[in-house]
Every structure is written in C-alpha cells, then in structure tokens.
Amino acid sequence: MADLEIINLHVRTEEREILHGVSLQVNKGETHALMGPNGSGKSTLANVLMGNDTYEVTEGQIIFNGEDITEEDPEKRSQAGLFLAFQYPAVVPGVSVANFLRLAINAHRDEPINVKEFRDRLKENMDLLKVPREFTSRYLNDGFSGGEKKRAEILQMAMLDPQIAVLDETDSGLDIDALRVVSEGVNALRERGMGSLIITHYQRILDYIKPDFVHILLEGRIVEEGGPELVAKLEEHGYDWIREEVASRAG
C-alpha cells in the first residue's frame, strides 16, 4: 500500500458533487503533478485531503501510513505528516511569521522546541528559500504580496518537514525568480525524502520540479496518467486534446 492512498473519492458541496471517484497514490520521495483546467476539482481534492469540512466525502477513503484519515481532524492530519501549501493562504494578523512557525512546530511535538534549535532551523530554511531577515517579524500574510505569501507557505513546509505535501497552485502569481527559489526549496525537501503532489494548471513549474508521475483531472475524474512525457503533450496540444480524447473514449 502506498504512503498516501486516495481510493475512489467522491466529494460534494451542498450544491453538487465535485469529485466523482478519484483514486491516486503518492509515496514518500515521489513527485506527482496533478494537472487540469480551472474548475476540474484540483483545489477541492487538496482541501479534502487536509480535512476541510465545507466538503463532504460521500464515498471512498483517504489512507495515510495505513490509517484511514477520511474523517480525521485537520490538525491530526498535519501532526501525522501531511501538509498543504494553500493557493490562497489566510491572513493571521498580530502573529509574526516566526511566532506562527514556533506555534506550528510545537503543535507537532510534546515538548516545546528549544530556542536555539528553532533559531538554527529557521535560519537554515530561510537561507534555503532566500527569505529576507525582516520577513519573520512581519504578521503572517498580513499585507504580503502574492509572491511573499507563497514563499511563506514554502517556509512553513520546510520548517514542518512533512512526509507528503500538497502544493495547490503554488506557481500561480509568481514571477520567474520567485518560482525558481520556491522550486529549489521543494527540490531540496524532495531530497530529504518528502513526497509531493503538485497541483497546477500551467506547465511552467514542472520545468523546475521534474515530476515522476503526472495525473490529469478533468471534471472531477482522473482521465489520463503517465510520466513526464504527458506534460510535453499537454504543452503542445492543451486541455482540448484531453477533452476530445475523453469524448471519443466515451463515444
């Protein structure tokens, strides 16, 4: 069994069903890309993986390290080693980046982290992500630019050191320099053994983070799976090619 196993997941909001039976497996150390046009259900999947209760799982399971976490609280999923880098992170006014990181790390351990260990870890990861010093004393995401928010997400990921991370459109709104820095950070964590599910509808980020596996989500179903060659094919033909492909299969 894979480290993260999504089995036949059906998800709905009050209005309608969004995911119609998604299955996906991600192991530690593997990099998966989940691609698809806007509205295909990518962000819904990311949110459901972390336990956002605005969505209802009507069928299927999420298994993490052999445990069924389908109904688990978000904080328990995080503590177990799952992470989500949000597409639109929340603002946490009055709480500095450094304080928030400390709170989050301490929520993952029995004893609070000691000051020196925290400082060393923070410095190491800030260097890795080329985060300026004054960044950590600002209130988390309060007045941050789009690029700063994404960098703060990746800094949190690096500090929490998850087993599997979901990156929800981390590339959108990033300029090329920021994209490169963020990608280098993800690649460094991959070397530490982190598995990832990179959600995007552009190909650009995949020039920097080479996926082992590619999955294409269309209208709540995974319709195509393969290796990195799928990215090139999508680049050439766009999502219309997939739509036609799906239609012809159905026909």
Partner: protein, 437 residues
C-alpha cells in the same frame, strides 16, 4: 517630597467649587443614556443610595496592599505611586532619584502644598457641570493623585495611581491630575482594580492630564473591576498644548457597567495625539464608551484606533466623535474602530461620527465588525494547531498590534494575561459560535 513651591494652601475657590458641585449633584436625577432607540445604558439596577465613601487605614508597605493591587504592580519601580482604597490613599511611594521639581503626592496634599500650581490646572478640563457624576466627583472626591513633571525635565519611570475597590457598598470618587510642563516628558498610568466582589460598588472618577507646549506624554488607563457588580461612570480628558504630543492607551478589561467619556484635545497648533484603546467584555457586562477627538486649533493631527471583542451576553458600545471647531484649518485626523464578535448573544455597536466646522481639513473614519473566520481557523489547523488554540491565537493576534505599542513590558504582560484568562473562561462559547460561521 519636594518642599512647597508657594505659601498658598487649599484655596477657597476649591471649597466654593465643591459646594457648587454638591448643589448640582443633589438636585440632578440619575441619568439614563439613550441613543437612537436601540441602545440604552441605564442605572435602574444601581442601589446608589446604599453606596458611600469608605475610609481605610494606611499601610506601610506594598506587601500589605490588597492582593489584586500587588498582582497588578509586581515589583515594578515607579517615579511615584499612589494607591487609593475607597476614599483613602492608603499607600504612596516616591522615587528618591527624581529630578528637581518633580511632584508625586495625593491631590489633597498638592492643594495644601502647591496651591498656585493646582489651581492653574484643577477642573480646567473637567468641571462639575457635565451631569450628576462629574458634580459628584467634584463635590466628594478625596485623596486623589497629583503628578507634575517640570519644564525641560524627563522622567523615565512611570507615575502610577491605583484606585482599588475591594468591598461592596463603596462609592469611590477618584481624582487624578497630571501635568507635563513645557518640553517635559512623562509617563502616567492609572489602574482601576477590584477583585471579584459580591455586591455593588461604584467608581466615579475624573482624570485630567495636561501636556504643555512641546511636551511629551504617554498615558495608560487600565480598568479591570472583576466580576462583581462594579459600576464605573467616569470622565477622562487629555489636553495637548502647542507642539506637544500625547499618546493614550485606554484599556477596558472588566466592569459590570461602564459609562465613560474619554476625550483627547489638541488645543493649539502643532499638537499631535494618538488614541489607541482596547476592550474585552464578557458575561453580562455593559460597556458604553464615548470618545472625542477634539481639535480646538488648526495645524493639529490625530489618530484614533480602537479594538474590542465581546463574548457571552455582554454589550459593548463604542462611539467615537471627531470634532474640528471653526477656524481650525489644516487639521488632519483619522478614527477607526474594529470589533470582534465572539458570541451569538453578545451585542456590539460602533459609531464613528464627525462634526467638522472648518474647510481645508482631512478627517475620516472607518470601522469593521468581524467574527473569527473559519478560513483562518482551518488554515491554522492544517498546521497542527487545535481549533481552540487557533481561535485563542486569532483573538490575541487581533489585539496584539495595539498591545505591542504600549512599549511597557509590565503592562503588556498584564493585558496579555488578562485577555488569555478571559478567553479561557469563554472558550466553549467562542468555539461553538465560530463553528456556526
């Protein structure tokens, strides 16, 4: 204690003022404050006739002060400390390293020893003609605190007055008068404290603070009357002269019924003020604050920011007025009020308003009423933080931008601890409310 600066003692004018005030007090009915038909602050349940001033014996060390006072003061050192219990100043301290001319003593003592100085300022901003309770204070105050920073003098340690009520049945008429003279610099703190008493008590205070030309003052007024039935009906006013600056932090963390008028006056050109308040109401408390940012001169600047949170069945009303008088060109001021609703049964009301009688000014206001946002809570939970901790962190974070501006470690710690305590008491209520959002 410095020697007398003049030969005059408690002047006859103040005795006459007391007599006139008493007359007004006796013939004025207990007020009710109504606004627009949807907000009423009433004293209907106050057994006013059963409350009265109460004398207490002096104590000789901080160790003998009521527990609630010792907890709030810790072992901090002050330029001057005055502790008033009921009607009596029971304890005072004056630092022995103060610059020449600095005065810290009871107001009664100051009137005896420094008649000219006290007469110049006493009741110049809070007279006895503003209703039953300003009259009561002017007629009945005793003890009181007087702090004076002379011209061109800087006092680093804070001046501290504590008004404490620790028994039911007490009516306390506290009076604070503080002055920073020309180009001087001083920090004033007023703490109004009670333990959780059983029964009714009243504090009706008057606090006047003057910052003379080119002076600088920081003012911190802290209120926590505990969970007893303590009524607080007070007026506080800070007046800022030419090119002077004052920053005032009013902090309201407890009181059965609070009705206060908190005004800050930029009285001459170049005067600049910052007014940063916070409140947290719980249980069945009622808090009714009316602040005025009054510009009596042109070329003045102001900035008012209030933050408040309401839990339980509490009611909190904040009315903030910007008033710019005629001929006060080139005044610039801004007022904002942010409120956090933490319970379905709490009621908050925030009313910014403007009276501007001059062209060529900038005056505006803004406000928000918010709730703890589920998106924020979910975000924090995905970082491993429990729902309850997330809510606590968000509420603390809401106040933090004001708290960290105190630049006063002792007070910051005190306020953070009190807010944490209140959040802990209300945590189930807050969490169940947030879950419905």
């Amino acid at each position: 204690m410095p020697a007398s600066d003049d030969a005059t003692t408690a002047p006859a004018t103040i005795a006459a003022d007391r007599a006139a005030a008493l007359e007004i007090f006796e013939k004025t009915e207990l007020p009710t404050w109504r606004r627009g038909g949807f907000w009423t602050t009433t004293l209907r349940d106050l057994k006013f006739d059963e409350l009265g001033p109460r004398e207490y014996p002096a104590v000789s060390s901080r160790d003998e002060l009521p527990q609630v006072v010792r907890d709030a003061l810790g072992d901090e050192q002050f330029a001057g400390l005055i502790v008033q219990r009921g009607a009596s100043v029971i304890y005072s301290e004056v630092a022995d390293d103060l610059p020449a001319g600095v005065i810290a003593c009871t107001l009664e003592q100051a009137m005896a020893d420094h008649g000219e100085l006290t007469t110049k300022y006493y009741a110049k901003r809070i007279g006895h003609g503003e209703g039953k309770f300003t009259a009561a204070n002017a007629a009945l105050w005793s003890g009181g605190a007087f702090f004076y920073v002379p011209a061109n003098t800087e006092v680093e340690k804070p001046f501290q007055v504590v008004n404490v009520i620790d028994e039911p049945g007490v009516a306390q008429y506290g009076r604070t008068l503080a002055i920073v003279d020309t180009s001087g610099k001083g920090i004033f703190r007023e703490y109004n404290l009670a333990p959780d008493i059983e029964g009714q008590a009243l504090h009706s205070g008057a606090t006047e603070i003057f910052v003379e030309p080119n002076g600088w003052a920081k003012v911190k007024t802290f209120q926590d009357w505990g969970s007893g039935e303590v009524y607080d009906i007070s007026t506080k006013r800070v007046a800022i002269a030419r090119d002077a600056h004052a920053r005032w932090f009013p902090i309201h963390l407890g009181g059965h019924l609070t009705k206060q008028t908190l005004d800050i006056v930029t009285a001459d050109r170049g005067a600049d003020m910052r007014h940063n308040g916070l409140y947290f109401t719980q249980g069945d408390e009622l808090l009714d604050l009316f602040t005025t940012d009054l510009h009596e001169s042109g070329d003045t600047t102001g900035d008012t920011v209030w933050k408040g949170a309401a839990t339980g069945k509490s009611k909190a009303s904040y009315e903030g007025l910007i008033e710019i008088r005629e001929g006060c060109q080139n005044s610039h001021t801004y007022l904002q009020t942010h409120t956090l609703m933490l319970s379905k049964d709490a009621k908050v009301d925030a009313i910014p308003s403007l009276i501007v009688k001059t062209d060529d000014v900038s005056a505006s206001h803004g406000g928000t009423v918010g709730e703890v946002d589920e998106h924020q809570v979910f975000y924090m939970r995905t970082r491993g933080i429990s729902r309850q901790d997330a809510i606590r962190i968000l509420v603390e974070g809401f106040f933090e931008p004001v708290i960290e501006q105190f630049e006063d470690e002792a007070l910051e710690t005190l306020v953070r601890e009190r807010i944490q305590g209140k959040l802990a008491e209300a945590s189930d209520d807050i969490a169940s409310y947030a879950a419905t959002k």
